[in-house]
């Protein structure tokens, strides 16, 4: 993760109620500048409400939002917010009777761009989202994935520093999803701060520098995936794959003070005789540093165990999400 110097988004005590329902409650969120940040949670967690408040579309019931170091006030006007933020809602539509370039041109006009600037921006953005060949195509003739990319392009017309994307990949086929992911990475590389709400957790864990997990309008966890792993799983877990004599490996490891938790889920199993099969992955709880790990591996190799692989086990975002939200429900 790159070292961030300051925050793009900061919220303090942010709350929003609809009647008696608390959609978002006392949310304290910090998103560093240039980060690709995932907002995750089940339906009704308050993700969309949070994004709409950040986009200046919804007035918070309480709390404070700072964008790029400046406090925003919905009451005092939207102008500043809309300059800084590009927003793509989860349910969005397009003007069917427009051509692709006209669609972007319209939003360029809305953001007050001059005719020359609009022409350049439209050309550049259509290229960026890979719709250059669809410039004169009627918008309603585009596929869902293309419309999704076009909508993402409209959120970029005024070159905002912050992008708020609500479920940008929902309803897309695997190919379109990959294209969208590549596009988001490209935008992130361009220095944009991107906040994505999504249900596709595996993709978020691959892309995001940081995540916030929400449920029932409250923030449960907040930080990088590694941070969450560390907090939730204080013991370092390692996966050792051996290509021969795993039983001997287990004995040697235990003798070296390494706890063998289990064969990992990947194919290994204890045999009927209580010994693991010949080629196996072992899950280890091991706190030692690189030297200690090297010593253990050397010991195994010298004992004739064919060590194929030793790698840390990161709990993926789905595991973490399930664990965190389950914990909350039990509490």
């Amino acid at each position: 993760m790159s070292p961030f110097t300051d925050m793009a988004i900061e919220t303090r005590g942010l709350s929003r109620t609809f009647g008696r329902t608390h959609a978002v409650r006392d949310l304290g969120l910090s998103v560093p500048r240039g980060a690709l940040f995932g907002l995750i949670g089940p339906n009704g967690a308050g993700k969309t409400t949070t994004l709409r408040m950040l986009a200046g579309l919804l007035r918070p019931s309480a709390g404070q939002i700072d964008l790029l170091g400046e406090p925003i006030s919905v009451r005092s006007g939207q102008y500043g917010v809309h300059r800084k933020v590009g927003y793509m809602p989860d349910f969005f539509g397009v003007y069917e009777d427009m051509l692709a370039w006209e669609y972007l041109d319209f939003f360029g006009r809305c953001h007050g761009l001059s005719a020359e600037r609009r022409a350049k921006v439209v050309r550049d953005l259509l290229g960026l989202v890979d719709l250059g060949s669809k410039r004169d195509e009627q918008v309603d003739h585009l596929s869902r994935g293309m419309k999704q990319r076009l909508c993402l392009a409209q959120s970029l017309v005024h070159d905002p520093e912050i992008l708020l994307l609500d479920e940008p990949a929902s309803g897309l086929d695997p190919r379109a999803r990959l294209e969208m992911r590549a596009l988001l990475r490209e935008l992130s590389a361009m220095g944009k701060t991107i906040v994505i709400s999504s249900h596709i957790l595996s993709e978020l864990s691959e892309m995001c520098d940081g995540v916030a997990i929400m449920e029932h309008g409250e923030l449960l966890e907040h930080g990088t995936v590694e941070d969450l792993n560390r907090r939730r799983r204080p013991r370092a877990m390692w996966r050792l794959t051996v290509a021969s004599d795993p039983a001997a490996a287990v004995v040697l490891l235990e003798a070296a003070g390494v706890e063998v938790v289990s064969p990992s889920e990947e194919g290994a199993a204890w045999g009927d005789d209580g010994v693991v099969d010949e080629v196996a992955s072992l899950m280890l709880a091991f706190e030692g540093d690189a030297r200690a790990r090297a010593a253990v591996v050397t010991q195994l190799v010298q004992a004739g165990v064919a060590v194929a692989d030793l790698r840390p086990v990161e709990g993926d975002l789905e595991d973490l999400f399930m664990e965190i939200t389950r914990g909350e429900q039990e509490a």
């Binding site: 102008y79 300059r83 927003y87 397009v94 009777d97 809305c110």
Partner: protein, 302 residues
Amino acid sequence: MSLPRPGLNPVFVREMRSRFRGARAFGALTVFLLIMTIATAIAYYFTHLSYQYGYGWQNESLGQSIFITVVLTEGILLGLTAPALTFGLLSSERDRGTWELLLATPLSRWQIISGKVGAVLAYGLLMIAAVLPMLGITFVLGGVSPWSVLLSQLVILSSAALLAAIGLAASAVMSTTSRAAVTAYVAAAAVIVGPWLLLFLVEIGPIGSGDLVATLMQVSPLMLLIVGAGFSDMFGGGSDSLQWIGQQLLLQGILTGWLFLLAHSRVRRSALGRGGPAVVGLLVFGMIMWLLWRLTVMVEPW
């Protein structure tokens, strides 16, 4: 931070592009003119028939007959069309899912509403302009002064604007276009036909006082249209009628402005798509009507 550069309202440009792209707008205009032509031809035929049966032939009476027919037909058609032009202006953005995208731009409420209304107004003016050559016939035949023509078009424009504003307010308050359409036409029907229905009830007895009905009659576009169309020297139009028409134009203007402001105030809040405050709006509308009734100097149109 740089401010947006001045130029054409982007919403107006988009609406015009969308409205006049394809054959739909011109098809509707053709149908409109076709109906007008048929109505004028029928008026001519029956006037001619009355000549054959010995009622006497005068170019002036033919001119007046055509004038009244054209103005009434134009008024009714525009009255029916006006809410249809506006009830989807804001609600269709919500239905389509473009509303939040629009609100996420720096456009002001005024720019959004005025851009949309401006495009509707342009279309309405095009329809009125298309009718003018037909009214020009009356200048050849005589019996109708240019002043009457001007006044009739002013009356039609004012009434159409009121009905369009009803559609706009419904569009701002209701969450979907179908609800907005129903609300707009029910409200328009209440304003147009309601007073006549009440008048009928007064005549047959169930409603005792005619004061309220007389007041409501004052805002009925149909009443204004009839008086406006019939206003000419030959039909006894005098200063009383003129005063009444002026008063009604003012009243309609106030109501139109109020409905416009209602829609304007709802633009941001209607992102939530809730129709509940419509009830409050109607109550306020009722209070304004009552206030106007108390303040307005009652002048009989005849």
